[in-house]
């Protein structure tokens, strides 16, 4: 018996009557869903949502060159730098949380609990405001506006997601069969060696899907640069929408679609990493399951 999902086991194979009923259910649900979509489409069309000019104007070659492409690049730049900061912080804090040295452990715990409880938008905006208040980066370091905005967006993304990645790594360490570390101690490795040679490589590999999933969230969160007017996609879409007053909604939809394309590509990578994890590792199925639970526990934002 092939298994697709749980529900197939729960009832017997459908007879002619059941098949007919399920066909009718399919048709009805299909009609309802299509009806809803059609209703929305007609409503939009009635307001001229699909008028060609409204789409062509914000997608003019000049606009693409001067605004859309720089916006995508700005989003990707914030994403790349933010990921880098987040991963470095995540590894440091994550291993701090399981350190044998109490103060390190306490400090890491406070860090994680603190930054995990605050909204990212507040972190980004407040650090930006504090800096603006004292004029440190603008006067002492002499940075211009965009450099400042990028810095505080990246800092916010990195600090917040660092706390989440630290939790993911800690969950990964907890999910690792204890025999792994014991075997290391049994052959005479020191604590540091066990962590470095046995625990860390396995945890990093096991948690790769979870880390990548969090990076998808980080990519979406770059849109929060909007609150400090960093010229990322969403902010630029707003500006384009204002320039072409008739295309405001269209510009937003285009931005949403670009986000979708970027995030979807990245999440395909997560699925690929998950599949490899299932195939390649010696990690027992039970542990993979525990890791997956840890991953779904981490869904944030």
């Amino acid at each position: 018996m092939t298994r697709q999902n749980e529900s197939t086991v729960l009832f017997d194979a459908l007879g002619p009557k059941g098949r007919r009923r399920s066909l009718i259910a399919s048709i009805i649900s299909g009609v309802v869903i299509l009806g809803l979509l059609a209703w929305a489409a007609f409503g939009l069309a009635g307001n001229g949502f699909f008028e060609a000019s409204r789409w062509v104007n914000p997608l003019d070659v000049l606009v693409i060159e001067t605004t859309w492409i720089p916006a995508i690049l700005a989003t990707l730049e914030a994403f790349a730098l933010g990921s880098l900061v987040a991963i470095v912080l995540g590894v440091v804090i994550g291993f701090g949380r399981i350190s044998r040295f109490m103060p390190t452990r306490a400090a890491s715990t406070v860090y994680v609990q603190f930054f995990r409880s605050l909204p990212l938008v507040l972190l980004i905006w407040i650090s930006f405001t504090i800096d603006g208040h004292f004029g440190f980066t603008s006067e002492v370091l002499g940075w211009d506006g965009d450099a400042r905005r990028l810095t505080f967006l990246v800092l916010g993304l990195g600090i917040y997601n660092g706390a989440i990645l630290a939790e993911i790594l800690r969950a990964g360490v907890a999910a690792l069969p204890p025999g792994q570390a014991m075997a290391g101690y049994a052959v005479g490795l020191s604590h540091g060696q066990v962590q470095r040679l046995i625990v860390l490589p396995q945890v990093l590999r096991n948690m790769l899907p979870a880390v990548l999933a969090q990076l998808v969230i980080l990519l979406k969160d770059t849109s929060l640069g909007y609150v400090i007017t960093y010229p990322e996609l969403l902010h630029s879409a707003n500006i384009i929408g204002r320039d072409y007053g008739n295309s405001f909604l269209q510009a937003l939809v285009i931005a949403a679609l670009i986000y979708f394309a970027l995030a979807y590509t990245l999440s395909k990578l997560v699925v690929y990493a998950e599949r490899r994890l299932r195939k390649k590792t010696a990690t027992p199925a039970k542990a993979v399951e525990r890791i997956e639970m840890a991953v779904s526990n981490q869904i944030a934002t």
Partner: protein, 218 residues
């Protein structure tokens, strides 16, 4: 440091109240949508499965802020009047609903196949095996991830400021940018941080309580 302390505390409390209301109301919407999605995604009707899958993919890959903006400016053009609160609650709920649906589905999938087979082999019907064997176990599995979704929602609720709901973050912004500058920067920052920490800790405590009550030994 705490200039006009009482005025500030009053404003922040009001902001915190709005944050809690937005969080709980949109969580209720999200739970309803998530349940609908999980029913659709295991139903025998293919169009329902496709729709559920499309919905989940769409909302998981678009930033919440973009969702809120598109709804805020898009809904009026299909003839739905919008208010800040309406878009804030429904947008947040629809967005979180996609995540709730995924969580519920993985909860049902996490029940070992043998459980369903055993239930069927002793002659329980579809409804009975679901009711007495699968769901009681699945509910316990999904409580922790549903709890962390709730806590994530507290933080996400800050984004409804973008459509004009004055919740805690928007309120602190208003205090700092007060045109008579009656409030000290650090005072407001400490106030808003403490408010969020308190909300998060109280909610995590309640979630842990629920977890403990539902805990079982396998």
């Amino acid at each position: 440091m705490f200039d006009n302390f009482e005025l500030m505390a009053e404003a922040l409390l009001e902001g915190a109240r709005v944050t809690v209301v937005v969080t709980l109301a949109s969580y209720a919407i999200a739970l309803a949508i998530g349940m609908l999605l999980v029913v659709m995604s295991v139903s025998p009707a293919a169009p329902a499965r496709w729709a559920a899958n499309a919905y989940t993919q769409l909302f998981r890959n678009i930033p919440l802020l973009a969702v809120l903006f598109v709804m805020y400016f898009g809904l009026p053009s299909i003839g739905i009047e919008t208010t800040s609160w309406g878009v804030g609650l429904v947008g947040l709920g629809m967005y979180t609903g996609a995540f709730v649906g995924e969580t519920l589905r993985s909860g049902i999938n996490s029940i070992p196949l043998g459980q369903a087979e055993a239930a069927r082999s002793i002659g329980l019907t579809f409804g009975q095996s679901l009711q007495t064997v699968i769901l009681p176990q699945a509910v316990r599995v999904v409580i922790p991830p549903l709890g962390s979704l709730l806590i994530a929602l507290v933080k996400n609720s800050a984004l409804v400021l973008a459509v004009g709901v004055t919740e805690l973050t928007a309120m602190s912004r208003r205090l700092i940018e007060d045109d008579q500058s009656r409030f000290d920067l650090w005072g407001v920052i400490i106030g808003v941080t403490v408010s969020y920490l308190v909300i998060a800790f109280v909610l995590s405590y309640l979630v842990r309580l629920a977890e403990r009550r539902a805990a079982f030994v396998r």
